[in-house]
């Protein structure tokens, strides 16, 4: 694809233009507040300061970041473990049935986040459907505390972002050349090793994309921790949200937001490198 070096840039141009206009410029506008002070009544007082960045260094925020990253990572891992076989099964289904299966995988998510979450509460709470079911089956002990736990938060996050991982993995699996898997079997690898050495590496870009979706959406989520976690857990997205809205401290919110964005982008770069290596991309070497 090197017959026209300008073409890739041309293709990227509209998207880049959109992002620059509607993301980079507005965000720089807001993130620049990080260098100013909060006004007494909220708002911004245009006096230059680095104090907001100093406040970001507070170990409290690092702790919250690490803790929510841990929850998001667990969520991501579980979502991938569930989504992969599902995506695989869809990609292997008769071709005319694949779009239908994909459609039904996302359909539940055209309802509404809040009411889906309430549905989970109805299922999980101490007086909820699952506990009632157990009771009607003869369980007599204390009702299970399924709700307001980390497990409930993770369940809710996995649930809501599962289809995104299925879509991303399906997208790479749907067109893997089956002969590659055959070649692996032929060379003596059983189904498991074929999966680990051929199928998985080749679908890794999709796994990585889906994983990134779950991770970034989870770490920024606040509805699920608030409702299913009983507000006992806090994701970093919430922290920034609080600065902007509750505390009305935009400069600090901007500093915290900037730190978060930079950290996450760095993490994503590291992840992208690792994925590229594991899935054997060699585009760079070629150029």
């Amino acid at each position: 694809m090197s017959f026209n070096a300008a073409r890739p840039n041309l293709l990227a141009a509209p998207g880049v233009a959109w992002l620059v206009t509607f993301m980079v410029v507005p965000c720089l506008l807001v993130l620049s507040y990080a260098f100013f002070q909060r006004g007494v009544w909220g708002g911004i007082e245009y006096t230059f300061t680095l104090e907001n960045f100093a406040r970001v260094a507070d170990p409290l925020y690092a702790r919250i970041f690490l803790n929510s990253a841990r929850i998001a990572l667990t969520t991501t891992a579980i979502a991938i473990l569930i989504a992969y076989p599902a995506a695989y099964a869809i990609a292997r289904a008769p071709r005319t049935r694949q779009p239908i299966l994909l459609f039904f995988a996302v359909l539940p998510f055209w309802s509404n986040y809040l009411i889906r979450t309430y549905a989970w509460i109805v299922l999980l709470n101490r007086e909820g459907l699952i506990n009632n079911l157990l009771r009607s089956m003869g369980y007599t002990g204390e009702p299970l505390s399924l709700l307001y736990t980390e497990a409930a938060v993770i369940t809710g996050l996995v649930y809501n972002y599962l289809p995104f991982v299925i879509l991303a993995i399906y997208s790479t699996l749907s067109r893997l050349n089956p002969e590659l898997m055959e070649a692996s079997r032929d060379l003596g690898a059983g189904p498991v090793r074929t999966f680990l050495r051929v199928t998985l590496p080749l679908s890794l870009p999709g796994v990585a994309a889906g994983g990134v979706f779950v991770f970034v959406l989870s770490i920024g989520n606040f509805v699920t921790p608030a409702l299913l976690g009983g507000g006992r857990f806090q994701m970093v997205g919430n922290l920034v949200y609080d600065q902007f809205l509750t505390a009305n401290d935009w400069p600090f919110g901007a500093a915290l937001g900037a730190a978060l964005i930079v950290t996450m982008i760095v993490l994503l770069f590291v992840q992208a490198r690792a994925t590229a290596r594991a899935s054997g991309e060699s585009r760079e070497a070629q150029a």
């Binding site: 509209p14 509607f22 807001v30 459609f103 309802s111 549905a119 937001g257 760079e284």
Partner: protein, 282 residues
Amino acid sequence: MTGNSATVTVADAPVAGRAGGAAAFRRTLPGRIVLLLVFGFLYLPIAVLVMLSFNDSGLPTAWSGFSTRWYSALLGNSDILRAAWNTLVVAIFATLVSTILGTLLALGMETRRRKSNGLEALAFAPMVIPDIVLAVALLTFFSRLGLTMGLHTIIVSHVVFDLAFVCSVVRARLKHFDFSIVEASRDLGASGWTTFWRVTFPVLLPSIVAGALLAFTLSVDEFIIAFFTAGAGRSSITLPMQIYSMIRFGITPEVNALATIVMGVSATALLISQWLNKEQVR
């Protein structure tokens, strides 16, 4: 959207490889069990939600008898219906624009000779920017420009993150893509544009559909950015905005009824279009 995605048929398999090929490995039973379990998980709360929409009581706790009163209430609630319609409009347009821009961006990025770290960061950024930062930023930006806000500004804003998600899905698919068919098309006299429509697009279609479904789903559920970039009138209230605003005085099962209808209608439309397709083929 229902109609849209319903009529899409995923184009046929790629590159070398024989159709019969995987047949020997296509052990359908485990596949079916996996799908059954996963779909069971996905639809478990949906079953609850549907059930609640027929619950006489407004409290989501106890079953107090079958009733369709929430459906009648819904039909009389023009606010919710209007919001649902607005949501559909936002999601459809945002999906359309972001699918196009995201796919092109993905193609551009994956066909470049050299990776550009700046471009990579730009494509990652919309996913990692906290919603509230983007929301505040866009509102500040729009009001500084003196724009009148409304559904169009919500759409513009949703495209920002939707496009990153679409781009990401399509890029994943492009990692091991055989570009020689693109070359073949150019060689046979097709311009870049024709090549895109006749070759690249159909072959990438499963990924593009996946990306579009993802964008649509994100848009349908997005709240904060929509709230901030909406205009100050009813005309740009979306369903999530409507539903969140109900939190303080209790979300009524009307919303469950609405969700039930949305999903029911979508599913029916899809199945009918599939059935029509099949009839045509015969």
